[in-house]
């Protein structure tokens, strides 16, 4: 485990040298948050007042959206898929396989290093924007910071693992990013744009038990309105899905390494 933490730390350090890129990404993040909060204000009508839409006040909705954008910006879905896929396509994976680590886990921890560096910028920017635009979250307590951080971390781990696993499909197909595109659209439609409560009643349980809930809607709902029950519910879902997708990724990786010769051998 120690060597994987070192992979993570080295990747974080490597990414920290590209702070100019990170700052550019933050500018885009700020613009998006501003546009979406204006859009929600319009939907809620004027300053929102006490209007509730599907149980969400405008403040809850915008904090939900800020958390969702933090998650979207921190994990570059296509970038993660390509990190796995390009190594397979170029044959570089063959030269990584003779190192004393599991290549799949190496990539997962390496991607997490990059993601964590982005969070260093995105989380404070998101909080500042929320406080400036909306003021403090109602009924928020300092003790919620740790569970929220845990939920955010589990969400990014899960997202990276899912898109990484999609990248492993490159063992069989030339380009895996179209699959990333499909998964990402599910993530956006059922997580980023609207909370599950905005969908028809019959669809809500499906969303709540889907990976999208663990990677997006769950932590965003926690941010909008924290409760320990919800935290427990979201965390269990995240842990189960992280374990499932890591196992699936390891299995695909094991099967895929037998095909190294086909691509880039």
């Amino acid at each position: 485990m120690n060597k994987y933490l070192n992979i993570y730390a080295t990747s974080f350090k490597q990414e920290s040298k590209t702070y100019a890129n990170s700052l550019t990404s933050v500018v885009s993040f700020v613009v998006i948050i501003y546009i979406f909060q204006q859009l929600w204000r319009f939907i809620y009508g004027g300053n929102g007042g006490g209007t509730l839409i599907n149980g969400y006040t405008i403040n809850m909705m915008i904090w939900y959206m800020i958390m969702a954008e933090v998650l979207m910006y921190s994990v570059n879905a296509r970038g993660v898929t390509r990190a796995f896929g390009n190594d397979i396509k170029s044959g570089k994976i063959a030269y990584q396989l003779n190192k004393p680590y599991n290549y799949y886990m190496y990539q997962v921890f390496s991607q997490l290093g990059e993601i964590m560096w982005k969070l260093v910028f995105l989380v404070p920017t998101g909080i500042i924007m929320g406080l400036v635009l909306l003021g403090p979250i109602q009924n928020f307590s300092v003790i919620y910071v740790l569970p929220l951080a845990i939920s955010l971390l589990l969400a990014v781990v899960l997202t990276a693992v899912i898109y990484g696993t999609v990248g492993l499909l490159t063992f069989w197909i030339e380009e895996a990013t179209p699959f990333t595109w499909i998964v990402q659209k599910f993530q956006m439609l059922f997580g980023l744009f609207f909370p599950p409560e905005f969908f028809p009643t019959w669809l809500q349980p499906i969303i709540n038990y889907s990976p999208v809930y663990a990677m997006m809607s769950g932590p965003c709902k926690l941010m909008a309105s924290f409760s320990w029950d919800l935290f427990l519910n979201v965390s269990i879902s995240q842990i189960v899905y992280v374990a499932f997708f890591i196992s699936l990724g390891l299995l695909i990786y094991k099967l895929g390494t037998k095909k190294v010769n086909v691509n880039g051998g």
Partner: protein
């Protein structure tokens, strides 16, 4: 002691090709299985401390063999033992004992310094901190990289980067080092420096060198033994000394005469080119002598003469083409 033992090694690649209809078009779904013998029943052994060149033209099977030796590919048949390990079953254990340098694939983190990279690789190979510091000190002295060891890798020249790549591969003190075209893209001075360093690693650290390159200069200078593989089979396994002795027996004689003379070919003497008074003649020293050649024309007619050996590159090309007789 043998560090590599390969017996009757085979690797087949199976591909499915669309079947062609009588009208020349291809069937949409009908596929025909095609088997390609990438490595076809090869056997060889490598002794500890050897410097071996494993060469062949593109698609000959050398890369496939190296991947099987390092456990990346599973053999279809035959046996492999590398440092006593079965590579496909004990890949991780083996990885602690071997190192690899690939000229075209970088393993260093480019935004970090070589020193930070070395610390990273130290942790990957579970090297204790004090031992790692000593090792970095030792290798940075041998490779003379101290001057730029704390600069980001991206700011280094290709030659400096390759030196750092080799240091990174040597940190865990591997018993064997696989080099795959390490000098590709380097200028002649950087190539020369690198070749000397590889020889130094072999001599001072006792590391067995397994070398692949298309650069004959690399092979000639670094390796004492050559295995040439073509179409999945070993076509030559000999010492560099023997290769030179047996295959460098042909001399190329360029003669410029005062007048046009008919030079008669005989056993061991072959006129390769004749234009006006200029002649390019190949002399097989196993069959004849230069004196014999000189007797074919009058020395009074001689204006200029130069004698050279067939370049090793041409010999290797001929072996690749199967003209090794």
């Amino acid at each position: 002691m043998n560090v590599i033992e390969v017996k009757n090694l085979r690797k087949e690649f199976i591909t499915n090709k669309r079947v062609i209809k009588p009208n020349g078009k291809k069937y949409l779904f009908k596929r025909q299985k095609q088997i390609k013998n990438a490595v076809n029943d090869i056997s060889f052994e490598v002794e500890e401390g050897e410097t071996l060149a494993f060469i062949g033209p593109n698609g000959a099977g050398k890369s496939t063999t190296i991947k099987m030796l390092t456990g990346i590919l599973y053999p279809t048949g035959g046996e492999i033992k590398v440092l006593g390990f079965n590579p496909s079953k004990e890949r991780v254990k083996l990885s602690y004992q071997i190192g690899s340098v690939f000229g075209q694939k970088e393993q260093l983190w480019v935004h970090l310094s070589p020193y930070e990279n070395f610390k990273f690789f130290g942790s990957i190979y579970d090297i204790e901190k004090t031992k790692l510091s000593e090792r970095i000190e030792e290798l940075s002295t041998i490779f003379e990289i101290k001057e730029y060891m704390h600069q980001p890798v991206k700011s280094l020249s290709l030659g400096q980067r390759i030196k750092c790549e080799i240091v990174a591969s040597l940190l865990h003190n591997p018993k064997m080092l696989f080099f795959d075209e390490p000098t590709i893209g380097l200028d002649p001075i950087a190539k020369e420096t690198l070749r000397k360093l590889i020889k130094k690693i072999n001599k001072e650290l006792g590391t067995t060198i397994f070398f692949t390159s298309h650069d004959v200069g690399d092979i000639e200078e670094v390796c004492k033994r050559v295995i040439i593989i073509n179409n999945g089979k070993i076509v030559l396994d000999d010492s560099m000394k023997n290769l030179k002795y047996h295959y460098l027996n042909k001399k190329i004689v360029d003669v410029n005469l005062k007048k046009n003379v008919k030079i008669k070919e005989k056993d061991g003497i072959k006129v390769l080119k004749a234009k006006d008074t200029l002649y390019k003649i190949e002399v097989d020293m196993n069959k004849t002598t230069i004196d014999e050649l000189m007797s074919l024309f009058s020395t009074e007619d001689l204006q200029d003469i130069s004698i050279s050996s067939t370049p090793l590159e041409d010999i290797i090309k001929d072996i690749y083409r199967g003209k090794d007789e």
